[in-house]
Symmetry: D3
Subunit: 135 residues, 6 copies
């Protein structure tokens, strides 16, 4: 068993707001992130696939294919977008780093034909990131 | 003469649009950056001050003061903001990396009491940055 | 379950010395790190908290609070300090990367009100780091 | 139990080719990596050793010794080499990131006198890496 | 006047050898880099263009076009190649970091329609790079 | 003319203090850096040499020689040292980033046999650095 990770970047904007909270609660809980105009990040996503090395290729899976899945399922959807307004999953869920990582898991897991999705790591900045292992 | 540089980060969103261009021209020239909802970046700004070393302190200037100027003049204005809508300078100017760097120069230069502003470097991503030397 | 990590930096000095070793043993075992005047590093600490996403906030915990804990418990104690002489835990324990990571765990774990401390990663340099998981 | 990681870099070249595949299959499966002249990378390897902290030294193991093992077993063999032609293990195995990581595990594991080899992480580029845990 | 920089990476192999030197001289002068099988690097090139900001676009030049020039003139030629054998310019010139940077200048300068090529910076590793300003 | 840069790291501790200032002035001007026990950094120094490319070698100078000069003149003197107490130049000068960069220039400039020292860049942290060009 070996773990292969591919990293990609995308630029998106978001804001944090729960319509069930009062304006004051939203400001207190979410701070500067509550600004409804949105603000943005250069997100970096690391997708880790676990599998066995195929002796014929020396590889777990074709990484060009993993790159295509990442581009089609995640980057085409989220890159250069205002996540709250333009990504359907975030119409009702707050696009926090946690929720974006979980959403990326849901988008990629069903598309893998070889290996098993092991982990999604999402960096909002180099100093803040989350790991989701699907459970 | 020695050059002292301090780096800071801020997260903001922006989009590129010229109202004098047709919708088609805006799309062709600005591509994905033309999305009016905005998208965002973790900007990194490097402020370089040139000066002589004060023999009494061994420093060109008090960097705690430079940090305060950066925070007050730039970060308080731009961090967690949609630049087009919330920063006055970008109501009429497109907030490209070039124009943001020039604006940061204008904000910081008049506040320095010691030394001379030498360069503003602004990273939009680690792979794309501009340098402005004030002339 | 999701894992949220926040990173912070501090600058400190230290040296390695065991009073039970002879001078020659200290030099052989600890090499350049045995210099009693101390030498220093830009340490980077990554604190990982495991927990469930609160549906109301989309977050495991308020990261502004985690940052405050890190600053109050770790940075206020260790930043710009000579660890051997100024941090009580290192009066009797050698402040190796391993022992500093364990000490940071002890300082942060009891202060978390939500989630569970999962891992402390401490970088002495980008090429040398330790992970402590509390067991 | 604590995990200590040391990182080192080496520059090597390689290419991907399976003599059992047709020329067309090799090109399709391996793409640009199939070029028989080879191409190269600045590889970065992270060796993680798990162990208990020795109370007398505050360390799991002498990292100067781990560095020597890394240099003697891995860097002397692979640095500034064309892996396919000059490293015996890759005469019959394709030097993919996966296989190089597994080979490094085999080279280092038997040389550790203290602690237990926990993980080899190998970066081919900052955007592509594998983890091998020995099982 | 403002300076815009775009960075790109490519993976290539090379070796250093002057046929006018004796085998012994080649080894002494070029060390490990003299290995005729080649070794490789993840090169990073930064292309800096100087120009004035176009008030209609807020940009010196369309960076999508600069990216295309970089890909067509440099990456298509050098990425995943053994520079000595596969890039014509290095049939008679040694592909040192210096000479590669100069060659990249020659490839890009005549293709720019707007602005002026100001600098090529080429990283062989993060610890070794050259700057060429065309004169 | 081309510019070649080599980077190296060293770990040292220092503190800021001017005996002509009162205790209160030292605290106000130097802040946390005034702590007499010292604190430390992973310094990174970049040495840039300007010269012409030797057609016989394709290089400005032998970088193995530049590395040796850096190690002998700078790292042997400053690495794992308390700069104020153990480096003679800092017995009477405050080891600020500015003064350390100037001192490194003085140590390296007279040792270069080929090319001309162009710049010393010294990073105290990734967010704070100085450039000295010798004039």
């Amino acid at each position: 068993m070996i773990y292969v990770t591919r990293r990609a970047e995308f630029a998106a904007s978001h804001y944090y707001h729960n319509p069930k909270f009062s304006a004051e609660e939203n400001r207190r809980i979410f701070g500067k992130c509550n600004n409804p105009h949105g603000h943005g990040h250069n997100y970096a996503v690391e997708v880790t696939v676990a599998g066995e090395v195929d002796p014929a290729t020396g590889m777990v899976m074709d990484l060009k294919e993993l790159k295509k899945i990442l581009e089609k399922e995640v980057l085409d959807l989220m890159d250069h977008r205002f996540l709250n307004k333009e990504v359907p999953a975030f119409a009702t869920t707050i696009p926090t780093t946690e929720n974006i990582a979980i959403e990326i898991w849901k988008l990629i897991a069903p598309k893998l034909r070889i290996g098993k999705l092991h982990r999604i790591r999402l960096y909002e900045t180099p100093d803040l990131f989350v790991d989701y292992l699907g459970e």
